[in-house]
């Protein structure tokens, strides 16, 4: 049986990058301030000193240029880890990610693989206001050709990057900056993880709480509180936002017959819309009540704490909503 260690989300991410750099000399990390600064969020702190500037490349502010370079390097046999500091800046690189990385394999008739991994800080929670706080997983989850992963737990912070680097196809990895300092126990020997399936993190029979990203620990906490009140909910971490694993949540619903989808992203045209639509199509007759959604409020995120908090579902919102759904 494996021992458990206490690790911050940041350290889990970092240990994965270190391991990847050690294991495969084709791997290198490139991004703004990943080197001398130590990473905007200190994820890569010390790696420049350990691996040198060829493996840990500071790049100028030029998201399209360096992301595209990562794609080109991948085409030519390298395994780049591109860090786009946060998803907010990734719009500048979106053309490269979608029109090139996601498209080249199909458009070339199967000739060109783009094994690039693009990491992005994501989400709300640090009072960084409207240009630095977004949850834009839905943009990327819309795009065929991409594998889109959401790092909602410490196990995945440790393992998803390692698995992503095994993929011959481009992977987008969303890391949540609000969770960086959060510590959790994970098995000492934790490593690569499955990156095809969602995961039931808590079994339950009354309702399926389907979520991802920062929603995961919030939902687990809510589930605990609800359990105290006699409500037994199942918690599912979607993990793979594209291609979405629907089996896991559809199966869950055949047991619970009710579902609530929780996410920080804006409500319209979101991951939760997709989950609801699939349940509609494939498990309609299993449902005892409509699937509901708790999403980010549709507003550019404001700066003050109380408004920021009000912009995304909180634990008490989830508890309240589930309670209403189960005990109307």
């Amino acid at each position: 049986m494996s021992k458990y260690i206490n690790l911050s989300y940041r350290d889990a991410l970092k240990s994965a990058i270190r391991e990847a750099l050690k294991n495969d000399e084709r791997v290198f990390l490139m991004g703004e301030d990943v080197g001398h600064y130590g990473g905007a969020f200190a994820v890569s702190k010390g790696l420049l000193q350990e691996f040198g500037p060829e493996r840990i490349m500071d790049v100028p502010l030029s998201e399209s240029g360096f992301t595209g370079s990562g794609i080109g390097a991948a085409l030519a046999g390298m395994k780049p880890i591109v860090e786009v500091m946060t998803v907010n800046f990734s719009l500048l690189a979106m053309d490269q990610i979608i029109n090139n990385a996601a498209t080249l394999l199909h458009m070339s008739g199967g000739q060109l693989n783009v094994p690039v991994v693009i990491r992005m800080g994501c989400g709300i929670g640090r009072q960084l206001a409207a240009q630095h706080s977004h949850s834009w997983e839905p943009f990327y989850a819309h795009v065929p050709g991409l594998i889109v992963l959401s790092v909602g737990t410490h196990e995945d912070a440790r393992g998803m990057l390692l698995s992503a680097l095994e993929s011959p196809d481009p992977v987008i990895l969303f890391e949540y900056t609000s969770m960086l300092n959060l510590e959790k126990e994970i098995p000492e020997d934790a490593g690569a993880v499955d990156i095809r399936q969602a995961k039931v993190l808590k079994q339950g029979k009354d309702l399926s709480l389907i979520t991802y990203g920062t929603g995961v620990y919030k939902c687990l906490e809510a589930a605990d509180i609800l359990a105290g009140e006699g409500m037994d909910v199942e918690v599912i971490d979607l993990r793979v936002l594209r291609p979405m694993d629907e089996e896991t949540f559809l199966t869950s619903i055949t047991k619970t017959h009710r579902a609530l989808v929780v996410e920080d992203a804006w409500r319209s045209v979101s991951i939760s819309s997709e989950v609801a639509a699939r349940i509609m199509e494939k498990a309609f007759y299993e449902l005892d009540a409509p699937v509901e959604r708790l999403c980010g409020v549709e507003v550019p995120i404001p700066y003050p704490k109380h408004l920021e908090d009000a912009s995304v579902p909180q634990v008490y919102d989830i508890v309240e909503k589930v309670t209403k759904m189960l005990r109307p």
Partner: protein, 332 residues
């Protein structure tokens, strides 16, 4: 500001005091902000301007009320030099409704349309295209105002810099591209950001009139920016001005400053624009030591007032969260 024959600015004692006051106001305001940050009154990203005051103060001297200003997330200095109310800025950073952006923006998003201050933009280089567009509007409307756009040397590596310079020059619009080259973009030194580190070599690639100046020297900045603005007003064309400067503090409050030596910072502190300008005024007998103390005192009171204003501000009601996603009369 009067001009001597040599085009050197010659200032009166009164102007000298006003300028010193502005620089000191920015300096103390920033120091106070850092303090309030450690007290958690201010949160999020806070980017201080300490060390770069001569640029904001120098450049704004050449601007008129009707001119437009756009800046970055490191914009307190520009906002103050422009004449934004310190209380409204502090309240903004406290997240209060009385802040210049209703508390919605915080430190990185100061807006005040009544003084033509258009941010407070936190996507690096994202405001350059807008600046060109505002200048284009002025041209189409037959207005004679200038659009002044502040940005860092890091921003100049972004594609939008290239596109904006080209568009402004193609369209002949009155915009001042004001590059604050403080040698670092977060922790990335100039040499890792630009293959050609002499940024003033970039202007000619667009056929844009270009200048550079020691940004630690207020009088030099005033002279260079006045020259730039005169050129823009006369020709209607863009101008690219690079100010060499340095930030004494960390990039933001999150920054451990691993990327530069303390000694380098200390060396630059010897160029501190504020003592430098004070000494000049003293030497020229335009000011006395007591008068400097008076200014310091005045600044202290202004900042106290600003803090008080911010403290007394109100929190926006959560139910108003979605106000202004769309214009009120239009959509809910």
């Amino acid at each position: 500001m009067k001009k001597t024959a040599s085009n050197k600015p010659k200032i009166s004692a009164e102007e000298g005091k006003r300028l010193l006051h502005q620089m000191l106001l920015i300096r103390r305001f920033e120091e106070k902000s850092a303090e309030e940050y450690t007290k958690s009154k201010i949160r999020g990203f806070l980017h201080l301007y300490v060390g770069e005051e001569a640029v904001a103060v120098g450049v704004t001297q050449s601007l008129k009320e009707e001119d437009y200003i756009l800046s970055t997330y490191r914009e307190h200095g520009h906002a103050l030099a422009r004449g934004m109310d310190p209380g409204e800025i502090m309240a903004e950073m406290f997240g209060k409704l009385e802040g210049c952006s209703m508390g919605r923006g915080g430190s990185m998003h100061l807006f005040d349309s009544k003084i033509n201050f258009f941010g407070g933009n936190a996507i690096v280089c994202g405001h350059l295209p807008m600046a060109v567009g505002m200048a284009l509007a002025s041209k189409k409307q037959g207005k004679k105002n200038v659009t002044c756009c502040f940005f860092g040397e890091g921003a100049a590596a972004e594609g939008e810099f290239h596109e904006s310079m080209n568009l402004a020059a193609l369209w002949n619009v009155p915009v001042l591209f004001l590059c604050e080259n403080n040698l670092y973009a977060m922790g990335t030194a100039l040499k890792y950001t630009h293959s050609e580190q002499k940024l003033e070599k970039k202007g000619p690639a667009y056929g844009i009139e270009t200048g550079s100046v020691n940004g630690m020297d207020l009088m030099a900045v005033m002279e260079a920016s006045q020259k730039a603005v005169d050129y823009i007003r006369k020709t209607g064309k863009p101008y690219f001005l690079v100010c060499y400067t340095y930030r004494f503090r960390a990039h933001s409050m999150f920054d451990a400053e691993l990327y530069r030596e303390k000694a380098e910072v200390e060396k630059w502190k010897k160029e501190d624009p504020i003592p430098k300008f004070s000494e000049y005024l003293l030497k020229e007998k335009m000011i006395s030591a007591e008068e400097i103390q008076e200014i310091e005192g005045k600044v202290e009171r202004e900042i106290e007032k600003a803090i008080e204003f911010a403290e007394n501000g109100t929190w926006e009601d959560v139910k108003d969260l979605t106000r202004f996603v769309y214009t009120e009369s239009q959509r809910s």
